[in-house]
């Protein structure tokens, strides 16, 4: 049966039209930021360079796409329309009368909707995993760099141990259906996810330990929120039922955190070793401040520039790792709409149809490119100061 198509310009305008919430949100954010950029500090400085604006726009574009995915995507990413099997871009689905803007894939699903919903998976897991890795790497890297000596040797050895593993081998060992039957992911999650709680408790204790009432409130808040998320993520037993994570997602999450925290550790350690020779650290030591106060309130704030740049790059790298997992079919469900899985499915049939392959490829590449440009602009700005 011959399907009606809407032609090249139809596709172009169709795509632009479907993304309208993104354009609206982008326009508001960019206009407001441009207006008040003088008062926005580092973020405002990004608007001074073309690279910064380009990077921010791309990242915000995907962020808003993930937020408004339900409105943007015309179809359910998992629903199959048998007529639309391998349909060419712009073919019109007879029942609803709406077009498959980027065509249909091998299983007759809408490629456009899958790309849009794929952004949700990537934009939740990649930044979250990076933040957890940042917490783990910072909490361990600070004492390693500050104290040096034995603690540094042991932690560095462990970090190098993980770094010596080729990432792909690590994933093949850590992200398998077999390992989900054991309790290893839970154990690793239990170890990794305790770090943010330790980090914030120490952070508040060192600063406000002398003011018991304020500290008690902060500690209670940290333990309550941290414990709530911890129970939800590790034991999947959130009493309120808001935070829940499927075993395969937990598995991926843990593996990604595991693979990227040694990198953060090394960077934090190097920065601390450099910063601890500065005068203000010596001044704090003379004042009689404790080592953890100095690490968290003197050293860490001064290491933020390189760390922010690294986080940007690392989110991009994590996105690539997620794509690798999807490409090898590890962890994510085979029908999951994420970009890596999409690339895997379509790259096998590249000789016959190329249209299902291009949207996830371009999406992944542009998002990582946006993050890299952002990191570049941030680095340039922090060098200027």
């Amino acid at each position: 049966m011959q399907l009606e198509t809407i032609g090249f310009f139809g596709i172009l305008f169709g795509v632009i039209e479907r993304f309208w919430p993104v354009w609206a949100a982008l326009a508001v954010v960019l206009a407001l930021s441009m207006r008040y950029k003088k008062r926005l500090g580092l973020y405002g400085h990004l608007y001074d360079s073309g690279v910064g604006i380009a990077g921010l726009t791309i990242c915000l574009f995907w962020l808003f796409t993930a937020i408004f995915a339900d409105t943007i995507a015309p179809f359910d990413p998992l629903r199959q329309f048998p007529v639309m099997k391998d349909a060419m871009p712009g073919s019109i689905e007879p029942e609803s009368g709406m077009a498959f803007l980027f065509g249909g894939d091998r299983l007759a699903r809408d490629v456009f909707s899958r790309m849009v919903f794929g952004s949700q998976i990537v934009l939740v897991i990649a930044p979250a995993a990076t933040l957890f890795a940042l917490m783990v790497g910072t909490t361990l890297g600070l004492p390693a760099g500050y104290y040096g000596g034995r603690i540094d040797s042991v932690l560095s050895f462990l970090a190098n141990l993980v770094l010596a593993f080729p990432v792909i081998l690590l994933f093949y060992l850590l992200v398998t259906p077999g390992i989900r039957e054991t309790s290893i992911p839970q154990w690793l999650a239990g170890i990794f996810f305790i770090f943010p709680i330790i980090f914030f408790s120490t952070l508040f204790y060192t600063r406000y330990g002398g003011r018991p009432r304020l500290f008690a409130v902060q500690l209670a808040a940290t333990l309550l929120i941290g414990g709530w998320i911890y129970i939800g993520l590790v034991f999947d037993a959130d009493p309120l039922g808001i935070i829940s994570i499927r075993p395969n997602e937990l598995n991926i999450f843990v593996a990604v955190v595991f693979a990227s925290s040694p990198g953060v550790f090394r960077i934090v350690r190097g920065l601390v070793m450099d910063i601890k020779t500065r005068d203000y650290v010596a001044a704090a030591q003379t004042r009689g401040e404790g080592p953890w106060y100095i690490m968290l309130w003197e050293v860490l704030p001064n290491a933020r520039g390189p760390l922010i740049v690294d986080v940007c790059l690392r989110i991009g790298y994590t996105t690539i790792l997620l794509g690798t997992l999807g490409y090898f079919g590890l962890g994510l469900a085979p029908e999951s709409p994420d970009w890596g899985t999409g690339i895997k499915e379509s790259s096998r049939l590249l000789r016959l149809y190329i249209h299902p392959a291009l949207p996830p490829v371009v999406a992944l590449m542009s998002f990582v490119l946006g993050l890299n440009l952002l990191a570049d602009a941030l680095r340039e700005q922090s060098l200027k100061d």
Binding site: P166, S347, D376
Partner: protein, 345 residues
């Protein structure tokens, strides 16, 4: 210097020991052993059959005993058939000695591949050779291109050429192999038809421009941008040094200054970066070999992992960890040799 290398080799051996122990633990988890038993028997084998198979082939011995046997510090017992009382090899496709003896990695025996049904060494050596060819061509493309791009960009910081090349290198660092592979295949194989979208023929019919360009290009592109950016940063730094200004003020032409004075000093840092690219290249090898169906090391690794081929997977991880660690060592030693300002004790 010598004591530094010896100490590093010691740490390296310790790291390899720890890592193989971890890998050994992970692939001998209960679900993985079951998977192996099912793949070796057939899909409908009962749980008792699987258990008996695992028992008979020694998978139920103590974990550390088995690790010791694999390593070659504990003796391997021959498999005695209880009915006949004679020794039978565990796998018909590799002959095992019928006597008790030490036969592990330290003795050079890597074991049997249950997936390919050959001794591991027999499978792995040709695969490594194939990957070596791929790696050679990738390096031959990636290193010169990235160095030239980096030097050209860093020569005049802030110029239009610098901006263009920098954006180009950022773009390539944002395209992992599975992305650039798809894009290149679409352009060069599907649309233009210049190149072959599969390197399967390269394994048995030899490497040609037609079947090998796409894998090499795909793999080289991801690392190129990164090395180029490091070279650029190093070049920019060198170009602001006093001796460059002196050379310029002496009246040397810009090109002469770049080639004679700047280049040598600017290329020290990229050397380290290139050596440290190997761990990344290993991941790239796996993706590219799977994508273009090239029968190399990465292909063997994926097959081993997918079928829980214990001995092959252990050998693969041993090799990759060895490659990563020895390149780190070479990069440290080379850096010290190249840079006279660094002295290791």
């Amino acid at each position: 210097m010598l004591s530094f290398i010896i100490r590093r080799l010691g740490v390296m051996a310790l790291t390899m020991l720890c890592l193989t122990l971890v890998v050994f633990f992970l692939i001998n988890l209960e679900p993985n052993l079951r998977k192996l038993a099912i793949s070796q028997l057939d899909m409908r084998a009962s749980v008792e059959d699987q258990e008996r198979w695992l028992q008979r082939n020694g998978y139920r011995q103590n974990f550390f005993v088995r690790y010791g046997q694999w390593l070659g510090v504990l003796p391997k017992q021959p498999n005695i058939d209880p009915n006949t009382g004679r020794a039978v090899p565990r796998f018909s496709f590799c002959d095992e000695p019928a006597t008790v003896r030490y036969s592990g990695v330290l003795q050079g025996d890597l074991g049997c591949s249950t997936k390919f049904k050959v001794p591991v060494a027999e499978k792995l050596l040709p695969a490594l050779g194939a990957t070596g060819i791929l790696m050679f061509w990738v390096m031959a493309v990636m290193v010169p291109v990235s160095l030239i791009v980096g030097v050209l960009a860093g020569m005049r910081e802030g110029s239009r050429l610098d901006r263009t090349l920098s954006v180009a290198s950022i773009t390539t660092t944002a395209t992992p192999e599975y992305v650039s592979g798809v894009i290149f295949t679409v352009i060069f194989a599907s649309w233009l038809g210049w190149l072959n979208g599969s390197a399967a023929s390269a394994t048995n019919q030899g490497v040609t421009f037609y079947n090998f360009t796409l894998p090499v290009m795909t793999m080289a592109i991801y690392g190129t941008g990164y090395i180029a950016r490091m070279t650029r940063a190093s070049m920019v730094e060198v170009m602001t040094q006093q001796y460059i200004r002196t050379a310029r003020l002496k009246g040397l032409s810009f090109n002469a200054v770049v080639i004679k004075h700047a280049l040598r000093n600017a290329l020290i840092a990229p050397f380290t970066v290139i050596m440290l690219q190997f761990p990344w290249l290993l991941t790239g090898v796996v993706i590219v070999e799977v994508m273009f169906r090239y029968q190399g090391f990465g292909f063997a690794l994926v097959e081993a992992a997918a079928n829980n081929d214990i001995d092959l997977l252990l050998a693969c991880s041993l090799i990759s960890v060895f490659v990563v660690l020895s390149t780190q060592l070479i990069s440290d030693v080379g850096y010290a040799l190249l840079n006279p300002r660094i002295r290791v004790r």
